[in-house]
Subunit: 81 residues, 2 copies
């Protein structure tokens, strides 16, 4: 069983790296973009026999305590088979 | 319209950052994890009036040319409303 964790900057937080990527794409001729924002993505693989609810609980705790900074970032956890 | 781009290291490529996170989670008492791998996640917002097929084409090109290094990374593009 796998948990997928998406970590993104809160909408009110500036994203200079995304702005730099947006600028690069404009120089390459992609002029129909409004914005690009960068985030992080994690795949957590659980050992055999871990239940879906245990995986969800553990992944939420890991996302909150280790992967994201809740002051400036939001996170979302999905369970995949 | 938004395109979501997920960039992950190819399975054969070592992920030392993921290994470090895995080690941290073990120290915190999460012992039922097999592996953690880190990737990148991008949200590309398109201007008003861009069609879904144009957005898909542009997002694929940006993912391949700017966001991912196809030698060591895989990418996946999803279109969201």
């Amino acid at each position: 069983m796998k948990a997928l964790v998406y970590v993104t900057l809160k909408p009110s937080v500036l994203d200079p790296q995304g702005k730099a990527i947006h600028h690069s794409t404009e120089l390459l001729g992609f002029t129909n973009l409004a914005d690009i924002r960068q985030g992080k993505y994690f795949e957590i693989a659980f050992s055999e026999g871990v239940s879906e609810s245990d995986a969800q609980t553990a992944a939420e705790a890991i996302a909150k305590d280790v992967l994201a900074n809740p002051v400036i970032e939001d996170y979302r956890v999905e369970i995949a088979q």
